[in-house]
């Protein structure tokens, strides 16, 4: 039994026609079920829990990455399947899973190619795509084996479970091959990127030492660690943003839950 959860932004007039086409395609393909819109009065958690009681086995998110993040935090580790119908902007998760936008996604939903994917966990919250922290002073402790101390003043720390090509090009040096970002390998990818101001301070040090140095390339400045578990500590509690929608705080315990989410994927997925 399908349950369709529609993001509130689809109430905007510009999405009316798209949504109507999606509804028609769902009926045509015989994959219809209850359709409910999110609103300020109805949280995703309440709505999904009600539908699970009614017997829903497949929860379908209609919207962008944000609604997927909310749903994952309700259905993680449950025996349910997640489906996606990406609409609007900011659909990196759907892209990585090879799911076409708007009504074309209904055909992928109907084909029902189900894969089990890893989920990242930060404290009691889950993420499918990435977790991000921007902070000056952070220590990362990996299972008491080693500690990562950050030498620059400000860093963007991102922990990925999966990523699309555009994101990979943005965060990693293009000239290298990485067998990473596979959401089925039981490993998360930790990337530490010092900000531009930190780069300037590095250059000042090099100049002071009499060593000529141009701006650091991406390959020279980032740090990259494959991880399974890591503890994040900071002097002051700082926010950790999961899938751009859920916010938790440090100290944070990060781990990976192998194959914890059943999700419908397309042929053109990146893994």
């Amino acid at each position: 039994m399908y349950f369709y959860l529609v993001d509130s932004f689809l109430s905007e007039k510009k999405y009316e026609k798209i949504f109507a086409r999606i509804e028609n395609r769902i009926v045509d393909l015989g994959i219809n079920g209850r359709i409910t819109r999110l609103s300020l009065l109805k949280s995703a958690t309440e709505l999904i829990k009600e539908e699970i009681k009614r017997g829903a086995k497949t929860i379908v998110a209609i919207g962008n990455d944000k609604i997927i993040g909310q749903i994952i935090n309700v259905i993680a580790e449950e025996d349910l399947t997640l489906g996606l119908i990406p609409v609007g902007e900011n659909n990196q998760i759907a892209q990585a899973l090879g799911i076409a936008e708007n009504e074309a996604a209904c055909d992928i939903l109907s084909a029902r190619r189900v894969e089990k994917l890893d989920l990242g966990k930060v404290n009691q919250n889950y993420f499918l795509f990435k977790a991000q922290i921007q902070s000056p002073e952070i220590i990362l402790d990996s299972d008491n084996q080693y500690k990562i101390n950050l030498l620059s003043k400000n860093n963007l720390i991102t922990i990925y479970n999966l990523a699309v090509e555009a994101e990979l090009k943005r965060v990693l040096p293009a000239e290298k091959n990485y067998h990473c970002f596979n959401p089925q390998d039981g490993i998360l990818e930790l990337i530490i990127n010092p900000d531009k101001d930190s780069q300037k301070s590095f250059l000042k040090i090099f100049n002071w030492l009499g060593k000529k140095r141009t701006a650091l390339t991406l390959a020279e400045k980032i740090s990259f660690f494959p991880i399974k578990n890591i503890n994040i500590k900071s002097k002051e509690s700082v926010p950790v943003v999961l899938d751009q929608c859920i916010v938790t705080k440090t100290p944070a315990q990060v781990s990976v839950l192998p194959k914890a989410l059943k999700i419908i994927v397309g042929k053109n997925r990146v893994f």
């Binding site: 008491n144 084996q145 080693y146 101390n149 530490i192 650091l216 020279e220 980032i222 740090s223």
Partner: protein, 131 residues
């Protein structure tokens, strides 16, 4: 030669310790590792190791192959080939099956090249002159 070997061995990088990071403790990995920052403690990998020009390592090091342009303080044990370029500095005992050492590279310690075993083996050193 160094560059081509480095490219061949390090095409697939699994870990990068960048210049803005200092790692302390026992760092162990299966894949290739590139160090541009600092590492203190011990480093063990079944893959290849690349030590950048500005990297500082104060650790015992064990790897499959190694390309060194920075500084290592500690004993180094390499199963295959170690390449030390002009800027390389190793303060500690070095053991490797094969070595390629550029003019200007510094090794301050006992070095055994030929086989990686408890007994010292015959030396097969290839010293390259750089222009």
């Amino acid at each position: 030669m160094f560059k081509s070997t480095e490219e061949k061995n390090f095409k697939e990088i699994e870990t990068i310790i960048g210049p803005s990071v200092k790692v302390k403790g026992n760092f162990s990995t299966r894949g290739n590792i590139k160090i541009e920052g600092e590492l203190e403690g011990s480093l063990k990998t079944e893959g290849n190791l690349a030590v950048g020009k500005n990297a500082k390592i104060a650790a015992t090091v064990a790897a499959n192959n190694a390309f060194v342009a920075g500084e290592i303080k500690g004993n180094v044990k390499i199963k295959g080939l170690i390449e030390l370029v002009q800027s390389a500095k190793v303060i500690g005992d070095l053991e490797a099956k094969e070595a390629s050492i550029a003019k200007g590279a510094i090794i301050n310690g006992r070095w055994t090249v030929g086989s990686v075993s408890p007994e010292p083996a015959k030396t097969q050193i290839k010293v390259e002159k750089e222009e």
